[in-house]
């Protein structure tokens, strides 16, 4: 019984990992504590993959109350953030560690 449970658990997690593919992908670059582009236009009602490339040496936290995402991105590394499906509208985000300069908008249309 226990062995079966273990197999099912491992299979379930492995299967969901394998199924992850196919979302439209958009890249944001973070340099000098600023996002480029600062406005990202994405399709509405579709799940979207944002790849954030932090080119600064210091970590940053991608933070968006509207998108319900908080993710720390170490310096000189990339992180993937899944958002949506979003209703048409504007969704703000920021870099929490440098909120005065690092901010942007996702526009779902």
């Amino acid at each position: 019984m226990l062995a079966r449970l273990l197999l099912v658990a491992t299979f379930a997690v492995g299967t969901t990992t394998a199924l992850a593919a196919g979302e439209p992908e958009f890249t944001l670059t973070l340099r000098d504590h600023r996002f480029t582009p600062s406005e990202v236009r994405v399709p509405a009602n579709v799940k979207v993959k944002l790849v954030v490339d932090n080119q600064d040496p210091s970590p940053e936290e991608f933070d968006s109350h509207a998108l319900n995402r908080e993710k720390v991105i170490p310096g000189k590394s990339k992180a993937t953030i899944f958002i949506g499906p979003l209703a048409p509208g504007r969704y703000s985000f920021m870099g929490e560690f440098n909120a005065s300069t690092a901010h942007g908008i996702v526009v779902a249309e």
Binding site: M1, L2, L5, L6, V8, A9, T10, A12, V13, G14, T16, T17, L19, A20, K47, P59, E61, H65, A66, N68, R69, E70, K71, V72, P74, T80, I81, F82, I83, G84, A87, E96, F97, A99
Partner: protein, 248 residues
């Protein structure tokens, strides 16, 4: 990435193994709803408090002071000292909480995590307490929903214990960063394989508020509070709980 996926699978498999083999409990007044997402590198100091109106002539209150850290992108750990007050106030136990983020938020139809919590009561006769279970989150636009099923059991206790089945849930409407609102609920059904009659089960639920204030740089203050009313006769009439978290 491959080793990260392996580690997540290992955590999930270990959890199932423990649930399958382990004997479980009911909510303390300071309990809170766990979420599956982990924030890498985040340090936090957390203060929790809860008080429940008397069920057998005694008001039960509990408080905890905790320190947490996001060790990896998928594992956050927290150590807490807990106090209880019933007929007397006193240090009650040390709690070691571990949350494992099993899926990337938003990647699948729901987000999954795992809670593994070990408590060491001051009263050594109570042995060790293990609480474990899946953490599930699903967002519907601005509405965040969480539902966690947790099993709990004492080990090495002087009296025989059973594995108990409990749950925690919340609805959170994301209104403003400083003020979200919704509802929370906690409860237990008794032994996982032999549920108690409904009148003996404890179920509480009620309105909740949440919020977050950026204090500059890495510093953030978060709060979360609820007033929980009894849904069954065995539960306290009113429970008030609150959590204040300082992240840095």
């Amino acid at each position: 990435m491959r080793s990260e996926n392996f580690a997540r699978r290992f955590a999930a498999a270990s959890a199932f193994a423990l649930v399958a083999s382990a004997p479980l409990a009911h909510a303390d007044p300071d309990d809170y709803v766990h979420v599956p997402a982990v924030e890498y590198g985040e340090r936090e100091i957390e203060l929790r408090f809860g008080t429940a109106s008397p069920t057998d002539d005694r008001r039960e209150s509990a408080a905890a002071l905790a320190f947490g850290y996001g060790i990896t992108t998928w594992w956050a750990t927290e150590i807490a000292a807990k106090w209880h007050r019933s007929d007397a106030t006193g240090f009650d136990e040390i709690e070691w909480e571990n949350r494992f983020q099993l899926t990337e938020p938003g990647q699948y139809f729901a987000d999954f995590g795992l809670l593994v919590e070990i408590e060491r009561p001051r009263d050594r006769a109570e042995g060790y307490e293990l609480r474990i279970g899946p953490l599930i989150q699903k967002d519907f636009g601005p509405l965040q929903t969480n539902f966690n099923v947790l099993v709990e059991r004492h080990y090495h206790a002087s009296e025989p214990e059973q594995t108990e089945l409990g749950y925690e849930w919340q609805l959170r409407y994301r209104y403003r960063p400083a003020f979200d609102f919704g509802a929370q609920g906690f409860g237990g059904v008794g032994a996982w394989n032999d549920w108690s009659p409904l009148r003996e089960q404890q179920h509480i639920a009620g309105p909740a508020i949440f919020g977050k204030f950026n204090l500059g740089g890495r510093q953030v203050l978060k709060y979360d509070a609820a007033v929980l009313l009894r849904l069954t006769d065995a539960a306290p009439a009113t429970t008030v709980r609150a959590q204040l978290e300082y992240e840095f």
